[in-house]
Amino acid sequence: MLNLGLDILGLARFQFGMTTVFHFFFVPFSIGLAFVVAVMETMYAIKGDQDYKRMAQFWGKMFLYSFAVGVVTGIIQEFQFGMNWSEYSRFMGDIFGAPLAIEALAAFFIESTFIGVWMFTWGRFNKWIHTLFIWLVMFGSSLSALWILAANSFMQNPLGYIINKQTGHVQMVSFSKVLGNPQLWNEFPHVIFGAFVTAAFVIAGCSAWRLLKRDHVTFYRKSLNVALIIGLIFSLGSIASGDLQTRYLINNHPMTFAAMEGLYKDSTNKGEWTAVGGFDTKNHKSTWSVDVPYVLNLLSYHKTTGTVKGMNKVNKELHAKYDKKFGNDMNYYVPTKTLFWSFRIMAGAGALFALLAVVGLIMNRKKSQAIMKQRWFLYILGLCLWLPFVVNTAGWFVTEFGRYPWVVYGLLTIADAVSPNVSVASLLTSNIVYFLMFAGMGLVMVVLCHRTLKAGPDAANTDGYAAGDKEIDPYSKGAFNHD
């Protein structure tokens, strides 16, 4: 056999990372767009201003593209656990399956049913009823995030279970503990707020590019305004919820936290915070760093004193705790550079978004023309439309790499979770094909959004059917005397 140095574990991990990251480009974007579009349509329902209706329809198109890709890449996720991680599925099924099934039953049905109704019934229902449909879509998709994060939270912080002595698998003993997992309630708001910020800044960025061309100025300035208000509220929300989550990590996942801050040694009472730095991951030490005193303690404890455990110490503690069960050759260091930089991207972008929103809202006041004159600002906004996708990926990296070497924290290692019976050839094939398909779909998405933007808000509805199809009521007289 051809040996490329590839193994099942590496390929399965790569596939999980690739499919999840790609799926997670579209999930927050869709959830966020559903929210922003719902807000726009609600404004229309309240004010009766046709501009808001056009806004909801126009940005709604991007929502539909993104939703379609989000749905189809989501099916991969559900199948993947069984396909690539059968040992994980056997071990975790008792706990992990339930939220997944409920997600489909309680959330996917709502969003998929009402998105179909919403997209094809403009003008057929009372405007309040039609607005309700998009809120139901938004409610359904947020609910799905809750359930999948409930499942993910167990992997990060197992609660409400026992180990079945016969099978060695986890077994649920308290659903309320699984659902009440503090990890979940720290993670969920952050993910949802991040989704709103994503959509807000994509809309803001797209509007900025059109404003640079002085195209439909009123329309895009109004869109920009809605986007930036939402962007401001929820970037602040993201920062606050991110702060809660970080402080939760200090106690519950000290290794993850230490890696995010690049701490190999315990911090001193002075709380020196590494703004940027380099790391020697082999010898477990930092090579250089730019430190700022007190900031670490301010971030960690909201006060100037205190110490934070470094990775070297946590590693020893983990060995002491787990060596009996998992042997002493385990490596408990998480991928430090990835976590350190991902965290910086996330935190930096959060602050940048809030700042951009404030400046943008000031410039975009009704009576002021500042936004049209300060072209540099529009360029920055325009470029920042890509940033949320980078940030979401970084956030996902921190969470998922932070779990290393566990797939279920303290219970099951990644290496023990993989399907033993799937061949390298199968995995390699699926990896390559998925990659090509994702590249193709990503490209079509970008082209479609770009084209929609260029065609502008007055373009006819290209969904072809929504506007012009002829319908015949089968219960009306003469319905069957066609032609």
Partner: protein, 336 residues
């Protein structure tokens, strides 16, 4: 075997029945895009019949998969890892057809509209065929080891029986799709669907007979449960006859319900034959059984409470969403 385990075995069957009944016609309609519709405008109408529904229909699959994971993790793990490549191709097909409707509608050139039209057609065709292939090969028995891991070879997946099963399911979906088109359109398309079904039904009968014969030789269904298996096979044929009678007599609803029930009969046939197993191993000692593949009683009870409180609500708005689009779509005017 506890009552809850039995209940969930049945519920998984119900969810797959729902999936095949609903996605059955939208696979069928999908296959018709590039074969049945004669021009771009007709393709629009054909796709529009399932436009608001296909996504909700697919959720039945996701729910069935999720429910299987939750209630029978061992079954889920063995089935999904064992059928790795088949499921991978199914996923690829579902992805292509899923995005094709939205993408096609937004393409500017005829060439690309054509491309995505074909993606929808071939994606639907492959998905239907592969589901048929998967379930047929599964009931014939597979090489499963003590740990529950399946390591099968090409011929275990693809053989005469499984290919006939795949084709039968494909044709069933196709006629079901045509029956749906009959209900949802008016004019030329509605007439053409009738003439297509008049030809396809005899093909389907032939397929069902071959399938029944192979079922006898390839599975232990007739050995172990001669009565129920025969009864269900007869029901399958009777439903198909009823549907065909509906086609000939121009009773649209009868033919649509008939083809839907034929698809459900296939699922019932499979689940009846599996019982009390969930996966059939060539070495019967390693077959996965309902009693030792399930989740804990706690999880099953929890899932039961949740399913019975949520599912009725889902059914109400799901059916309502079909009611919203009860009107027929006119066939486009023939442009010379």
């Amino acid at each position: 075997m506890t009552n809850l385990q039995l209940l969930w075995f049945i519920l998984i069957g119900v969810l797959f029945s729902g999936f095949f009944f609903l996605e059955g016609f939208d696979f069928g309609v999908g296959m018709l895009i590039k074969s049945f519709a004669r021009n771009d405008a007709e393709e629009d109408v054909v796709i529009r019949t399932i436009g608001p529904h296909w996504d909700g229909n697919e959720v039945w699959l996701i729910t069935a998969g999720g429910a299987m994971f939750a209630s029978f993790p061992m079954w889920y793990a063995t089935l999904f890892s064992g059928y790795y490549l088949i499921l991978f191709f199914i996923l690829a097909a579902l992805i292509f057809r899923g995005v094709s409707f939205e993408f096609r509608a937004n393409m500017e050139t005829a060439k690309w509209r054509n491309f995505w039209g074909w993606a929808g057609t071939i994606g639907s065709l492959c998905a239907a065929f592969l589901f048929g292939l998967l379930f047929t090969s599964m009931i014939a028995g597979m090489p499963i080891d003590k740990n529950g891991d399946m390591t099968a070879h090409f011929l275990d997946y693809v053989n005469l029986f499984s290919v006939v099963g795949g084709v039968a399911v494909t044709v069933l979906c196709l006629v079901h799709g045509l029956n749906f088109i009959r209900l949802k359109t008016a004019g030329e398309l509605r007439e053409r669907a009738l003439s297509w079904n008049k030809i396809l039904y005899p093909v389907l009968f032939a397929g069902e007979v071959v399938f029944a014969i192979l079922l006898f030789f390839s599975t232990d269904f007739f050995d172990k449960k001669p009565l129920t298996t025969t009864a269900i096979v007869v029901a399958l044929v009777v439903f198909t006859v009823l549907a065909y009678w509906g086609v000939l007599g121009n009773h649209e609803w009868l033919s649509f319900i008939g083809s839907g029930l034929s698809l459900i009969s296939v699922v019932v046939l499979i689940f009846n034959g599996l019982f009390p197993r969930v996966m059939i191993a060539n070495n019967s000692a390693f077959s996965l059984l309902i009693k030792n593949s399930s989740s804990s009683p706690y999880t099953l009870k929890l899932m039961t409470i949740l399913a019975f409180s949520i599912l009725p609500i889902v059914l109400v708005y799901f059916i309502w969403s079909y009611w919203v689009f009860y009107k027929r779509l006119a066939s486009p005017k023939q442009s010379a």
